[in-house]
Amino acid sequence: MNRLKLPPWLVLLLPAIIILSAVVLIPLVLSLYSSFTSYRLTRPDSIFNWVGFFNYEKALTDVKFWAAFGRTVLLLTVALNLEMLFGLGLALMVSKVTQGQRLLRTMMMFPMMFSPILVGFQFKFIFNDNVGLVNNALQSLGITDQAIPWLVDGQLAMFSIIFAEIWTATSVFGILILAGLYAIPRDPLEAAKVDGCTAWQSFRYVTLPFLMPFIYIAMAIRSLDVARAYDIVQIMTNGGPARRTELLWTLIGRTGYVDARMGYANAMGYISIFLAIFFTIYFFKKLTQSRKELGMGA
């Protein structure tokens, strides 16, 4: 008998390798491969129709794609910055509370516990132009007598989506920044007081540098989230009106499943991943840098 002798480490790792390739590698390779074909869901055999970089060229010259790309970057920039500011404010306030802080911390997490689908429906209702909460409130208060088309007007719809994103995810920043606040040593803050700092100056020159690593971690996590934002937008506006809230992944979803052009959708998906990779690398660089500033890490 000529048995194949595998080294023991490989044998031990084999189950992990098999499972990983089944759940990660195979779909990944398959989707990457299909992005080089003219694969359509309606014609399964088209998956063998190799078209080279055609899908990629098409995506890179497609105005709709670039509009969605730009909108995603816009959403990312606006939402992340506002979430950071609100989260910072929230964390600072919670950290000052002496009683019931545990309860507040738990409450802060609530929005994160909702499924994005639910959040989408919730805000779809809140911003509905006829029966929505916002319009009703505005009209009852006499601020306006018209129904404001929150989800119908292009710019207002984008605003509403950003609002919903911020509502769900500010607590990511809040919790991480709060953790950062707890981790700040008391001594440098006291030294700053003695050195003549006002509360604002202590915050600006001591607290904030200590918080930066935490802020960048939150940014990295959230940039991945927002770069693949889908559910909330899909529910609230379905990319409309007239594609004015179309983001990368709603476009990709539509192309892949509604238009059934899976090969093309996958190609756009792979281009879009670079966006996420770019932001992740960027924020991790910032993170390393800010930790180095503080004399932490290598």
Binding site: P185, D187, P188, E190, A191, A192, K193, V194, D195, G196, C197, T198, Q201, Y205, V206, P209, F210, E293, L294, G295, M296
Partner: protein, 361 residues
């Protein structure tokens, strides 16, 4: 330059009072050391002067101003913390210049002050490093430099040397003393180490459980402790204490051993007292200082020896209590060896057995 006055200062944490109505007057340019065991309220007192803790009662004055309600930045003080409390994200130069930058001084002025402070503390080669790249001693010097650049009226030190190793501590102690002689500003210095207190202070303030026990020059508190606590806290090794009863001109201890009463104490026949004698004043005959005016002799068996080079510490038992004695020009001593010791009664102390208060006339 400024005096500091504490008037009936109280600190409470909720219902818990940790500093009980203390009074202290510190002269301009004086180096005062607060010393006491851990948890006695030294840091709390210092932090009330700094403005880092609220004052629950009484009044703190700095340079004639009541500062109770002023934030630290308006008190013209600077503080050196036990854990250095440097800003980790700033270079040494930025750490030193930070307070001046906050005070909106010009860059030229800041550079000048920083260079000067760096010069005094030999930090010049380290100016562009961050605190993470400094040794403990260097960090401590940066912390001190940060305190001196501003030329404050009062310096506050909270156990600044306790994180350094023994050798460095001795070295920094000398530097702090030199610094005081150079700057001539008022210093309040907190430590639990009585050696630091003795060597640095113009005046020592001995605290216990939120009370001030005694205030005086190092020699004064060493030679005239007001109670057994101060007697045992100041001086190394701690003062030996023996309980006894006054019998005419003599003290009688539990096992019947008798010693003449030390001169200069107000006592009555039959009074229960605590007799205090430092190791320096109980020495074996032939290995002692020249005889004084009032001497007594006792015989004791030596249990243990601790040779220190120029002298040896002897642990022996007197009247059932372990006492420490000193042997000058030491020779080897066997454990269990019986020796005759002479006691310098002029330097001995009598305390009330009940309250521990000194009975000195």
């Amino acid at each position: 330059m400024a005096q500091v006055h504490l008037r009936d200062v109280v600190k409470k944490y909720g219902p818990l009072e940790v500093v009980h109505s203390i009074n202290l007057d510190i002269a301009d340019g004086e180096f005062v050391v607060l010393v006491g065991p851990s948890g006695c309220g030294k840091s709390t007192t210092l932090r009330m002067v700094a403005g880092l803790e609220g004052i629950s009662g009484g009044e703190v004055q700095i340079g004639g101003r009541v500062v109770n309600d002023l934030p630290p930045r308006e008190r013209n003080i600077s503080m050196v913390f036990q854990n250095y409390a440097l800003y980790p994200h700033m270079t040494v130069r930025e750490n030193l210049g930070f307070s001046l930058k906050i005070a909106k001084q010009s860059q030229a002025e800041i550079d000048k002050a920083v260079d000067e402070a760096a010069e005094i503390l030999s930090l010049t080669p380290l100016l562009d490093r961050k605190p993470g790249a400094l040794s403990g001693g260097q960090r401590q010097r940066v912390a001190m430099g940060r305190a001196i650049v501003r030329h404050p009226e009062v310096f506050l030190f909270d156990e600044p040397l306790s994180n350094l190793d023994a050798k460095l501590r001795t070295q920094m102690r000398v530097e702090i003393k030199k610094l005081h002689q150079k700057l001539k500003s008022t210093i309040i210095y907190v430590t639990h180490d009585q050696v630091e207190a003795m060597t640095l202070a113009d005046r020592i303030v001995i605290m216990r459980d939120g009370h001030i026990e005694q205030v005086g020059t190092p020699l004064d508190v060493f030679e005239n402790p007001v109670n057994t606590f101060v007697g045992t806290f100041i001086g190394s090794p701690p003062m030996n204490l023996l309980d006894g009863v006054v019998k005419g001109n003599e003290l009688e201890f539990a096992d019947g051993t008798r010693l003449p009463v030390p001169p200069g104490y107000a006592i009555q026949d039959g009074q229960a007292v605590t007799f205090g004698v430092r190791a320096d004043n109980i020495m074996p005959v032939g290995h002692a200082l020249p005889r004084g005016e009032h001497m007594a002799e006792v015989e004791m068996a030596v249990d243990l020896t601790e040779p220190l080079g120029t002298e040896t510490l002897l642990f022996a038992t007197l009247a059932g209590t372990e006492v420490q004695a000193k042997m000058l020009n030491p020779r080897p001593v066997q454990s269990g060896e019986r020796m005759t010791f002479q006691i310098m009664l002029d330097k001995c102390h009598l305390f009330d057995a009940e309250t521990g208060a000194s009975l000195r006339k």
